[in-house]
């Protein structure tokens, strides 16, 4: 049976909350499965370190991802290197899998423009902070690929709150009309800051919104990395190599939970109960995959210890790298505003540079 031929509330699952197999395990070799686990651990550890850097004043406001590793890593593992990713602002784990160095993510949240500059060959768009604004971009980018006869697929991430925005509707409607190779991946983490999923829409599921656009919609357990992988792989395959009677675009609703705050500037205890958080923590995607991999005989204490230390070292190295970057020169304020700096902007730069030379950085900088 095609994975998309199911009721919208018939959630796709492979592992249950204890890591027991309840669905079709995707055809992944042991190394890939352990690699997926390693990336989830990496994302979790990175997240904890990033929150702590913010608390220490070493980084600005940061949006944590803990709890969402299953959806991020599982979906990104389904991408080919040539596929494109259009993230929101919380997909540090997904972007990492698709090749964006951790250092870039750190730099972005440390206030460096360079953080948004993915290295050549890494097909990741700049982070989109305004909610749902990347959805039409994903349709347009995929449309360009289709017009040029290329066979890349595009995945676009956004949250449950984004489904209330006009851009969500317009972007997906275009995708339906022009049959673009786009996978719209909704990280439904239940909360748009303090507003619960039920207050965003009266729809029973977010997946069913696909119906209105004439595209496939499917709900998946977002804290089950194997189920997420399977569904995303099927959607990407259909995007790249369309079947006669199926639309190329897909809306995936990955049901999950944000364990932490919306950002480090948010205090979720004001608006949600600890009981609810604890209930969802029992579904932790990392524990589930770990349990499955142990049962499969590909993960033991020794390997876990190795993963743990390598993850810690990798994050520590990335932090060292990012923190060793000097404050960008003030010329960077003006660079890249245009292909060629207009004379008035050149003049503005020169005036500022002259004043800095005259009065020193202390006249500008707070710290």
């Amino acid at each position: 049976m095609n994975v998309f031929d199911r009721a919208y509330d018939d959630t796709v699952r492979v592992l249950d909350e204890d890591g027991e197999v309840v669905g079709d395990v995707p055809d992944l070799d042991d190394d890939s499965l352990v690699g997926m686990y390693r990336h989830m651990r990496l994302a979790r550890h990175f997240d904890g370190r990033a929150v702590s850097l913010q608390r220490q004043g070493r980084m600005g406001t940061y949006p944590p991802l803990s709890g969402q590793e299953g959806a991020q890593i599982g979906s990104a593992y389904a991408l080919d290197d040539d596929d494109w990713m259009l993230p929101s602002y919380r997909e540090h784990g997904a972007a990492l899998v698709h090749g964006l160095p951790l250092k870039q993510t750190l730099l972005y949240w440390m206030g460096h423009e360079d953080g948004n500059n993915a290295p050549p060959g890494v097909n990741v768009f700049p982070v989109a902070v305004p909610i749902a604004s990347q959805v039409p971009h994903a349709t347009g980018a995929a449309w360009a690929s289709k017009i040029r006869g290329e066979d890349d697929a595009f995945i676009c991430y956004f949250g449950d709150g984004a489904t209330s925005e006009g851009d969500f509707h317009e972007g997906i409607n275009f995708a339906g009309v022009f049959d673009t190779p786009t996978v719209f991946f909704c990280n439904n983490n239940q909360w748009a800051i303090s507003v619960p999923r039920e207050r965003q829409t009266r729809s029973a599921t977010l997946a069913q919104k696909a119906e209105a656009y004439g595209i496939d919609g499917v709900q998946v357990d977002g804290m089950d990395p194997l189920a997420v992988y399977s569904v995303t792989a099927a959607a990407l395959e259909k995007a790249r190599d369309p079947e006669d009677d199926r639309p190329r675009p897909t809306l995936i609703e990955a049901v999950q939970y944000r364990f932490g705050a919306h950002t480090t500037a948010d205090d979720p205890t004001v608006y949600r109960d600890d009981d609810e958080v604890e209930r969802w923590k029992r579904k932790d995607p990392i524990d589930r995959l770990e349990s499955y991999l142990r049962d499969r005989g590909v993960l033991d204490d020794e390997r876990l210890a190795e993963i743990e230390s390598s993850v810690e070292a990798r994050v520590a190295d990335a932090i060292d790298e990012a923190e060793s970057m000097a404050r960008p020169d003030l010329r960077e304020l003006f660079e890249h505003a245009y292909a060629e700096l207009p004379p008035e902007l050149e003049r503005q730069y020169e005036t500022l540079a002259a004043l800095r030379d005259d009065r020193g950085d202390a006249a500008f900088l707070e710290d």
Binding site: V129, P130, I193, Y349, L365
Partner: protein, 328 residues
């Protein structure tokens, strides 16, 4: 004697909303996270508990929806006070603002009016993420039919907010989040208003008039004090409303000094500085003794925070700008 409370600017906003909700059943507060959460800056803290979810409303995440439904409510005679969480996220609601909020009175020949106040924190300097630091008041000042108010003190924030909510026309009320908690001031507990469209003189001086508003008022006054020690006396005028501008106060301060500098964190090109300069050209050309200076944000996208201290007018840049006008 009136009882007062010692409040920060954001607390004064909250107090102003509280008073207006209490005084007028037609007032509703609506937006993202304004209810149970009390606002991401706590500007609506406690209002949900006191007035309930029908008057302090958590909406879906949709700026066009927030502004557009507020337009509908206001057309029916309510006084909605929608909040957009950061001014950098107003743009999905921009069509509703310029095509409807600004024009309903005109289009219906006065049949429908929109007594609504759209609040949003604006401006930089708090090491915020991308799109959280812009200062785009000029967009709204450019749009006929809107009033654009920007307070710079707790006392005035409360009084101007009350005046905005009670105003028969739509108001864009931009709150300088850099100084949300920068200082406290005695604020009357009782409701009061501060008139829209009137500037305030923050410092008297005969040598040069410096026009500013919002969060830039403080570094401007700092620069003025520094220059005062060198014998240069600045008249600092806080515009408080950037549309309609208080032409009389602007011209008066200029005629007194013959020199002027405008300070704003918004980009220089197309900013309020150009408009104020034009007013002075129109009304007081013969008093002019030096080119009118502009100390403003640069004409580049607002940078991520590693560079924002260079972007924002600092007291040092303001001093330089004033010296240029004075030494011409």
């Amino acid at each position: 004697m009136t009882d007062t409370q010692n409040l920060t600017l954001v607390q004064a906003v909250r107090d102003g909303l509280h008073n207006e909700l209490r005084e007028d059943d037609d007032v509703v507060v609506m937006g993202q996270d304004v209810g149970k959460n009390g606002g991401v800056f706590r500007a609506t803290e406690g209002l949900f508990d006191e007035f309930g979810g029908d008057r302090v409303i958590d909406t879906p995440l949709a700026e066009s929806g927030i502004v557009g439904t507020a337009v509908g409510m206001a057309a029916m005679g309510m006084r909605p006070v929608p909040e957009i969480q950061f001014s950098g996220f107003m743009y999905p609601g921009f069509d509703q603002i310029v095509s409807h909020m600004a024009r309903f009175r005109t289009r219906s020949r006065g049949r429908f009016t929109l007594p609504m106040t759209l609040r949003a924190p604006y401006g930089g300097g708090i090491r915020a993420p991308e799109h959280h630091s812009e200062s785009k008041e000029a967009f709204y000042a450019h749009e006929a039919g809107l009033k654009v108010v920007i307070p710079s003190t707790p006392y005035e924030a409360k009084g101007l907010l009350a005046a905005s909510i009670r105003d028969p026309d739509p108001v864009i009320f931009l709150e300088p989040k850099l100084i949300y908690r920068a200082f406290r001031e005695e604020v009357p507990e009782e409701p009061y208003t501060v008139s829209i469209g009137e500037a305030a003189t923050r410092r008297e001086g005969d040598d040069v008039a410096v026009f500013t508003y919002g969060a830039m008022t403080r570094p401007t006054l700092e620069a003025a004090e520094t220059l005062g020690e060198e014998g240069i006396e600045c008249e600092v005028v806080d515009l408080r409303t950037v549309s309609p501008l208080d032409r009389e106060a602007i011209v008066e301060a200029f005629e007194k000094t013959g020199r002027a500098v405008v300070v704003h964190e918004a980009p220089k090109t197309g900013g309020l500085g150009g408009e104020i300069t034009a007013i002075l050209q129109e009304e007081a050309l013969l008093h002019q003794e030096a080119p009118i200076g502009r100390v403003a944000g640069f004409d580049v996208p607002y940078p991520l925070y590693a560079l924002e201290d260079y972007y924002l007018p600092s007291a040092a840049r303001i001093e330089e700008g004033i010296l240029e006008a004075v030494e011409f």
